[in-house]
């Protein structure tokens, strides 16, 4: 694991990778004031795979933006990897996003005119010393997601699942502390969803910390832990077996076998999604 520069928090709070305390976020939309987060506390340790759930308006998107360092809280503290990122400036936050966060979006967000390889390389464009070994790193990332044979394809030549794999390869390129996925399977059919979730599980097994924001219990069932939000606060924070989503565990176990078989086949360098 990488050790980052910057001030370590005095209270280590165990080996928490993410430590959020009394986080609030207030938006002003016209004359209206929206309390998106109302003093939220959350801790996520290394190599956890957490689902964040909640209905719309529960604050889960706001929380995701905070965790992804895309936005700053109105008050409260956010320690990422021991560093307080809640008071950083725009440029510093950009660097943190580049080094610590890997985003996976519902609609993939690939650059249409660039090849899969170029899309995966994108974070290196903004990285310190992104010049050396960039090809190999991007190729390695594409290999990890099972797309080693699609490097020169443009997004429009790839299926939805393949596009999301390219996006995941881009997200893991800089070996981020957190892989932050926002409804990663929202635009995919159930077969492809299973494959993408299998890929997340595989990355998790390899040591990656993953946070998935979703509203589907079937997706959450792939995680170890489910955090449910309501009205900007944590409603429940339970291991998967104790959460409502746990009822899907059986079907997950059933599909894992077949999905991992597919994943292996892909990793073996063959089948398309």
């Amino acid at each position: 694991m990488r050790v980052k520069r910057g001030s370590r928090m005095p209270d280590p709070g165990a080996a928490a990778l993410i430590e959020v305390r009394a986080l609030t976020k207030i938006y002003r939309v016209g004359v209206e004031t929206i309390h998106a987060l109302r003093g939220l506390d959350l801790a996520i340790r290394r190599n956890e795979m957490v689902a964040i759930m909640g209905s719309s308006g529960s604050g889960k998107s706001t929380l995701m933006n905070m965790l992804g360092c895309l936005d700053r809280p109105t008050s409260g503290a956010y320690f990422l990897n021991g560093r307080d990122v809640s008071r950083m400036g725009a440029s510093e936050l950009a660097q943190v996003r580049n080094e610590e966060i890997g985003f996976v979006f519902q609609s993939f967000e690939l650059l249409p005119r660039q090849s899969a390889l170029e899309n995966v390389e994108l974070p290196l464009v903004y990285a310190k010393g992104g010049w050396r070994g960039r090809r190999q790193r991007a190729l390695a990332a594409l290999d990890r997601v099972g797309l080693g044979n699609r490097v020169d394809h443009r997004p429009n030549q790839l299926s939805g699942g393949q596009r999301q794999r390219v996006a995941i390869a881009r997200a893991i390129l800089n070996k981020p502390s957190i892989l932050l996925a926002d409804e990663p399977t929202g635009n995919l059919d159930s077969q492809t969803t299973a494959e993408i979730l299998a890929l997340f599980r595989q990355l998790h097994a390899e040591g990656q910390t993953i946070v998935i924001v979703t509203h589907e219990d079937e997706v959450a069932a792939h995680c170890q832990r489910v955090v449910r939000l309501r009205d900007g606060r944590v409603l429940s924070d339970l291991p998967i077996a104790q959460d409502v989503a746990g009822r899907h565990l059986e079907s997950v176990r059933a599909t894992v076998a077949s999905a991992s078989a597919v994943a292996e086949a892909i990793a073996g360098g063959g089948a398309a999604c």
Binding site: N65, A90, S91, Q95, F103, R113, L124, V125, Y126, G129
Partner: protein
Amino acid sequence: MLNPLFWLQAITLAFSQIWANKSRAFLTALGIIVGVASTTAVIAALTGLKGKVLAEFESVGASKFFVFPDRPDNAPRNMYPWEKILLKPEEARAIRDECTLVKAVTPITEVGLDVQSGDKRIEGITVAGIWPDWHEVQNRFVEEGRPFTTIDVDSERQVCLINVDAITELDLPANPVGEAILIGGRRFLVVGIVETTQARFFGMNTSSAEIFIPFSVAEKMQERNFFMRIEGMFANPELAEEGEDEVRFVLRRMRGLAPSEPQTFQVAAIDKFIEQFKTLATGITAIAGGIVGISLLVGGIGIMNIMLVSVSERTREIGLRKAVGATPTAILLQFLLEAVTLCLVGGFIGIAIGRIAAFGLTKIPGAQLEQADIPFWAVVLSFAFSAATGIVFGMFPAIKAARLDPIEALRHE
């Protein structure tokens, strides 16, 4: 801060953006293309004209000077009647005898006379009265026969020099030396054929009939108060200033002008004309610069407009780039670079068109612009101005892109 990969992809992206929107980019850059093309063409024409004119001045000689009568500025007309300020032959003689820095000097007076050879008669040919030094001053010698001598002038011989055009116009034999022609009713012997020079100043060429007679003879054929000018040459072009002072001193003394009195004549060396011409050329260049300034302003607004469109179209892309770690500075530079690239491509096309126009100018018959060419500084300046336009007008859209909130940008439809 920004690694080489950033610059590589930024430049590649800038060009691919132009390539992907070729017609839009072309229309956007049209203002800059037209501005740069017209300016470079004007500068090319001016450079050609300047080269030509300066070459002509050079051929006349940098050490040449002219003296002509001149009424002082703001002086009442009746205080300086024309006959009082006209140059006199004795003033030419004084310059010849007393100015040590003057190497050669000749008075020139022109009179329109009827000329006849056999049955062929031409009315009103300009006949010039000159001294033998004229050959040296004008750098025109004889092709056939002999030049004028001091004896021709001193003994008022009725001899003349003619040019090739005069031979054809008067139906004289190919070598007319020894033939006699009637000038103003008097019989003159042709003693030599004067060299034809190419165009003198600004197309005032000498390709018409010319006849020269000794000054002393012309004096007799003129009216009482006739106009004459003096042309001369300094021994050393380096001492032209001192030479002019000397001529001025001699003429003031001849005219009895007190130090407080204004000068009633002008002494001008060729370098004065060169300077005047250069000032004129600089003025025209400045006007051309103004035109390019206005067209770049118009073009720049087009650039700004299209960059704003581009920022708006690519909002999601900007959001993504920010999410993967692009700093506001990186986004700003990216869009600034695109605007500059667009302007530079426009400038390049403009220079190419200007170059073709300059080539076209050299092919216009009679325009005397054979030397039209775009100087290197104009190319550099065109690129510099284009780039500056890109920076100035690309700044606002780039700042807008850099300030986009990544969350809003990613949500943008």
